[in-house]
């Protein structure tokens, strides 16, 4: 089973690569288009549905600086697919090079347990958890901006800051009352 290795390849010049993993393959498209608009850095976006990634692309794939798991909270399958994909990443990625992005958290049809489960997952892996709104253009732009901040650090464009350092500041923590029943 070949895992994705964060430091096996050399980085590109003035380039940052991000891998967006989403089961529905819907939000990643608009997010990718917003990400490549960045001018100061060349952003390469790779889109995938789930791990394992096809072996044929191993040669041509650049070094992935940031892996983003996009989870649609309205679908249980989305969460399970993201969870199952985690074992295909080398542990090196979990030092700040993995990020979780959640969409549709405001939807009333979402059971509270699912969001709690995502929080627990993110907290146990010490990864940041971002909430995004994918229906409007503004929401997509905002999500892209926040991702770019983390991406630039992960790719090494911000002096004196490494992704491990940033992850200490941005990592998700569990609220202390997560085990209490909510007032819905």
């Amino acid at each position: 089973m070949s895992r994705l290795n964060p430091f096996a390849k050399l980085p590109g010049l003035n380039a940052a690569s991000v891998l967006l993993v989403e089961n529905e393959e819907h939000f990643q498209q608009s997010l990718a288009e917003a990400l490549v608009k960045e001018t100061s850095v060349t952003v390469n976006v790779r889109l995938a549905k789930s791990f394992p990634l096809p072996v044929e692309n191993d040669e041509s794939r650049p070094r992935i600086d940031l892996v983003v798991f996009i989870i649609n909270l309205t679908s249980e399958l989305s969460f399970q697919s993201a969870e199952a994909s985690l074992k295909y990443l080398e542990p090196g990625y979990f030092l700040g090079k993995v990020c979780f992005m959640v969409s549709n958290a405001r939807s009333s049809s979402v059971p509270a347990e699912r969001l709690d489960a995502v929080r627990r997952l993110a907290a146990s892996l010490h990864c940041p958890l971002l909430f995004a709104e994918d229906q409007t253009q503004q929401g997509v732009t905002n999500a892209a901006e926040r991702l770019l901040t983390i991406l630039k650090v992960a790719a090494g464009f911000v002096p004196f800051t490494t992704s491990l350092c940033l992850s200490n500041l941005t990592r998700s923590t569990l609220p202390p009352d997560i085990d209490q029943p909510s007032f819905d």
Partner: protein, 382 residues
Amino acid sequence: MGLFIVVSYYSGTAEGSKEHPQSTVLISDWSICLQPGTRKTMNDSSKLLLQRIVRRIPVQMLKTTLDKWGRLTAEQRQAIDFTQSKWALTQKLQSFCEENEVTLTRLAELEMIHVIENPNQGMWYTFQLLDPEDDAQSLELSEFKQQFKCHLSELLRQVSVKIKKHTDEAVWIRIAWGGSFSKPNHLKPTYVVHHLQTPYFFVRNLTSKLKPLLSQALTLATRHQGVKEANLSGRNLASIRDLLMRQYQHVFPTKYPSPHDEEDQPVLNQHIEKEQGHVATHRRRMAREVFGDGTLPQLQSAVYKLDTKFKDPSNRTMTEREDTFKCVVKFSSTNLLESLRSCASSGIASAPVTPLLSSIPLKGRNYFVVTDNTPGPSSQRH
């Protein structure tokens, strides 16, 4: 159905009354010609039919339909002002029809012309003829017409049939049904469309009481031995015909798909790359293989009648019941096949497409009964 009335003419000459030779007049439609020269007034059923026809046909199409009908003279057609209200138009047409002595059957022709031009109102149901006899393939239109009228009038005396052949080889039949003692009701006609030498016919507006009569007459007239429901219904006649005769764009499975299939992909930015692009392409290809390419025939619904045992491991009470769980699942859409195709190509429906969905275009049906014994929908296509 004719009434013989003997009318004797007496001429009042000075020589005294002399009886003219008797003349017999065959009267139909119950309208009696009192004296030669006066105009007949239309009877109530004709008036009602005319009113309904004018109401149904939109004004833009009324002019062309009347021209096609050809029962009005050129001056009469010129005299009609199509910007008037429908009621005024009806009155005008009524007076012209009375002038030209247009009968009920001629009015029915007008309705038929309109329906042939606009077949997509109401629901069409499909039937399939079974077991053709040896000479079924050589059936000719004139023979079919004569046989059908003959058989139908044998079964039900009071029935009014009109048969027309359309330019695209379709035979249109309009039937106004009567009872044993009542005249044919032209306000609720049944329309039948049949292509000769094919085993299918499409019916609109037929009650279940009259279904066996029609089926028998058609079966005998087309020289088959049986008929069954083909379980396909829809609003758009051309679509259900195309679906049944497989006249839409097919995509055949190939080992080496041509590069022009990739053209549909939206052009991505050069910096965006898909890791698993071949999966999406493969899915789209399979969806197109099952449902077809390009514009698909329009179906409005698909109904699955399930008669299977309840299977859900998390619900023990329902699973433990002995008898089957009966339920009906209905998919409806403005263009059902189009939406199923995009479900399959976007991954919402799992690929390869389940036989429950792929049977719709493959077997040309949209009503299925699913039981536990069969792995897929029951009944084979002949």
